[in-house]
């Protein structure tokens, strides 16, 4: 729950900053006040318990960002739609954090393990798993990771997360797993 609150809060800050920027030309006192209260930790009366937990003062915004990054890095399985090799748009932000983390930590190494559901031939699924892992690989590299930090392997349909011929099993098996090395 704490993480959810932190996530909500940082979104509010970001919105406030955007509105602040939008109003910059006008010296409207009200919008300035809104902005400073939206900054949260800057004004004592709007400081939430969540902000205190994450550390007070000017570092509040950074800290929320850090927690968001940590949450993002905790997501290591990315699911794919049937017959689609591109990762979902909803995973873009999370993967961005993975890319930044790799860029900031050049000694870090990852393995991207691509998987497919069991429909279709095994050799084709082996290739599809690689295509999925590569879609994430390319995004990580474009966003700052180094190619040498990442190993890609496809298991095709050979290592299912869940067995069976249900739609649920298929959905869980079409995935790329990020494994620290």
């Amino acid at each position: 729950m704490v993480h959810t609150k932190q996530f909500m809060r940082s979104a509010v800050v970001a919105l406030a900053l955007m509105s602040l920027a939008a109003c910059k030309s006008s010296s409207d006192a009200e919008s300035d006040a809104n902005a400073s209260s939206a900054m949260g930790s800057m004004s004592s009366e709007s400081t939430s318990s969540a902000a205190q937990a994450s550390g007070a003062g000017t570092s509040g915004r950074l800290s929320a960002e850090q927690i968001q990054a940590e949450n993002a890095l905790r997501q290591t399985v990315f699911y794919f739609d049937f017959d689609i090799a591109e990762f979902r748009a909803t995973d873009r932000e999370t993967l961005m954090y993975h890319a930044r983390d790799l860029a900031a930590n050049p000694s870090k190494r990852l393995r991207l393990e691509g998987h497919a559901d069991e429909r279709g031939t095994r050799e084709y699924n082996l290739a599809l798993g690689e295509r999925r892992a590569n879609s994430i690989l390319n995004y990580l590299i474009v966003n700052g990771a180094s190619r040498s930090q990442i190993e890609v392997v496809s298991y095709g349909e050979e290592r299912p997360a869940m067995t069976g011929q249900s739609e649920n099993a298929y959905n869980r098996n079409r995935r790329v797993e990020v494994v620290a090395r």
């Binding site: 031939t121 050799e123 690689e130 392997v153 298991y155 011929q165």
Partner: protein
């Protein structure tokens, strides 16, 4: 759970001690033909001391019935039990409407531990003996002798060489959790009997294939954490790692002359077809396309490769001459949503493949397309059929499917009329590879 964990440790030391845990397959006939040929197979008499492990008559009966063209007379309906020619009266069999008769006897070879099997085969309508000989072997070879007699009978009656002494490779997996699975590469007689473990691993094993002389196999193993191609000699167990290219190394298939392996490598970006010479290790690139090209299969003359590509968006089957320009590709399938795993029958005209007709019909089935007339025959009616492998006499196709949620091997005759199943007692069985003739 505990039992499953203990198995791989046992297997590490080889096939001999793993005997009790391998996947024992046994045949079930699931569909036969309307007018099978009536044949009487008299139980072979055993004229030695002790009890034999195998009954030759039962082996021949099972062989001939499971390919569907024969129906064996029940011994309880026989009027006589002849052991050799001088005891045979044709009318005993013609009144029972039998077309053929097989009789025989089994003896200890004089002064040795070897066993002699004498058989004689008769045409009841023409009242003539068609064949007869004595086969000698060890007690452990009784099944081989039985299958050899089946070969003789099958060829005399149908005119087609029998494939009863052939073998199959297949992969068995036992799923414990997404982190823990066991994989075995096994070899068995074509009917699933006498299974032996050739390789055991905690990492996936894929794509077993036979060398043309049946002495070596190739497969993909993830034992180093990455898919790499290996060959293994069946007699010695000696292994050789053939590839270590970046990314996917898969689908090894021996050329008809046994000197090269076609394979799939994605070292240059996307999966493409390559051919590696097994002596010089020279690697030739065959396809060059940013889409997925995979599942190579040689033409009988070794001059071209059939493969699958999704270059038009969905998998379709293509053919290319070795050494042709990468643009000089012939597309073979058009009328399916997904056509894959293509390979020609020995006639070079009929293409066996896995077919999904439309996006709306999600079933994958085994089909044959005549590439001249474009006529398609779908041989199977189950949903998850894949990995077709053709018997060396072209009479049957073995393939992997699902039964009660588990992977099993099925076989279907080339005309679709006869089917049999090899259910496994353990794990998921898949990727059958039917051997060439081994004798």
């Amino acid at each position: 759970m505990k039992l499953n964990r203990a198995i791989p440790l046992l297997f590490v030391f080889g096939a001999l001690i793993s005997f009790s845990a391998k996947a024992e397959l046994s045949i079930q006939i699931t569909q036969g033909i309307d007018n099978p040929i009536p044949i009487a197979i008299v139980p072979f008499s055993w004229e030695g001391s002790g009890v034999l492990d195998e009954a030759i008559g039962d082996i021949v009966t099972a062989d001939l019935q499971q390919v569907g063209e024969f129906r064996a007379l029940s011994p309880s309906n026989m009027l006589a039990m002849p052991r050799e020619e001088r005891e045979v009266y044709y009318r005993d069999w013609s009144v029972l409407a039998q077309d053929y008769l097989l009789v025989g006897k089994v003896q200890r070879a004089p002064g040795s531990e070897l066993i002699q099997v004498q058989y004689e085969f008769f045409d009841i309508n023409r009242e003539i003996k068609l064949a007869g000989e004595v086969l000698t072997g060890t007690a452990a070879q009784l099944r081989d002798i039985g299958h050899e007699i089946s070969n003789v009978v099958f060829e005399l009656v149908t005119g087609t060489r029998g494939a009863f002494t052939t073998q199959i490779l297949y992969v068995v997996s036992e799923f414990v959790s997404s982190e823990e699975s066991y994989f075995r590469l096994e070899k068995a007689d074509y009917d699933g009997r006498r299974a032996q473990v050739l390789l055991e691993s905690r990492e996936p094993i894929m794509s077993p294939s036979w060398s043309p002389n049946g002495q070596d196999i190739a497969y993909v193993s993830f034992e180093t954490d990455l898919p790499r191609i290996y060959t293994q000699n069946i007699a010695t167990g000696q292994r050789r790692q053939i590839t270590n290219y970046p990314n996917i190394n898969s689908s090894p298939v021996w050329s008809p002359d046994g000197t090269k392996l076609a394979m799939v490598l994605s070292k240059d970006g996307s999966p493409d077809i390559y051919v590696q010479d097994l002596i010089s290790n020279e690697l030739i690139r065959i396809t060059d396309h940013p889409a997925i090209d995979t599942e190579p299969a040689w033409s009988k003359d070794g001059r071209s490769l059939v493969f699958m590509s999704d270059r038009t968006g969905q998998p379709q089957i293509y053919q290319m001459e070795i050494g042709a320009s990468t643009y000089d590709v012939e597309r073979l399938t058009y009328d399916c949503f997904h056509c894959a795993k293509g390979q020609f029958l020995p006639d070079g005209v009929n293409l066996v493949h896995v077919r999904r007709e439309t996006r709306q019909s999600p079933d994958y089935q085994i089909s044959i397309m005549n590439v001249e007339t474009l006529r398609v025959i779908t041989l199977t009616s189950t949903k998850f059929d894949e990995s077709p492998s053709v018997a060396p006499n072209g009479s049957m196709i073995m393939y992997a499917t699902k039964f009660n949620g588990r992977g099993v091997l099925d076989a279907v005759s080339i005309d679709g009329r006869v089917k049999f199943r090899l259910p496994s007692s353990r794990g998921d069985v898949r990727e059958p590879a039917w051997s060439p003739y081994l004798n």
